[in-house]
Amino acid sequence: MAKNLRLKAARAALDMTQRDLAEATGVSRQTMNAIEKGDYYPSVKLCIEICKVLGKTLDELFWEE
């Protein structure tokens, strides 16, 4: 699975750590790490949560061409 670099970039742009983003979305840091590494595809519900926190759309963070 490919790494989600867009998610990592969006998080870094807001100066957030994985732990910060994980706490804001209500998941564990390990889960957030797995999503960024591409080891786990999150549910749509969690994707929406992440997008809300980072101020991005689903397409911007999760759409793969």
């Binding site: 750590t17 732990r19 209500g26 564990s28 889960t31 999150p42 969690l46």
Partner: protein, 146 residues
């Protein structure tokens, strides 16, 4: 351990751990029953089944720690794990001491001595503590790197 709300990935992994536990339990109990039917009784009474059940519980706990399903940072969890470490170490030392003092040997009448079983129990409890310590150290190191 599982009172804390788990996220979706943790729930998924918890299911995998329970599946491993169930399969291991069934396999070991079947092997034990097969041995028993062949007249091979490796421990006296129901200790064989008990040690298998305990082994599966320990296996599941270690997997919970490995997959970060256990809240490793929680104080209550820490105390419980440290208690496990203390209990395991005490059991191993006490049973080893008794085994050496009694000087009966590891196997008595074709069955494993109860003190050796005690040592096995102690080692299994200690394994949870060791897994916790290693995982906590690994997580701290990884967080520092990030």
């Amino acid at each position: 351990m599982l009172k804390k709300r788990l996220d979706e990935l943790q729930l998924l992994k918890r299911g995998i751990v329970f599946k491993h536990g169930l399969f291991t339990l069934v396999a070991l109990l079947l092997i034990n029953a097969l041995l028993y039917s062949q007249g091979i009784e490796w421990v006296s009474g129901k200790w064989g089944e008990l040690i298998i059940v305990f082994f599966v519980i320990v296996l599941c706990n270690i997997e919970f720690i490995y997959y970060d399903i256990s809240p490793l940072g929680e104080r209550r969890q820490k105390y419980l794990i440290f208690f496990c470490g203390l209990l395991g170490a005490t059991t191993v030392i006490a049973c080893t001491y008794e085994l050496v003092m009694e000087d009966t040997g590891i196997i008595v009448d074709g069955k494993i001595n109860r003190n050796v079983l005690g040592i096995l129990f102690g080692i299994m409890i200690l394994a949870i503590f060791i897994a916790y310590m290693l995982k906590a150290k690994f997580n701290t190191k990884r967080e520092d790197n990030e």
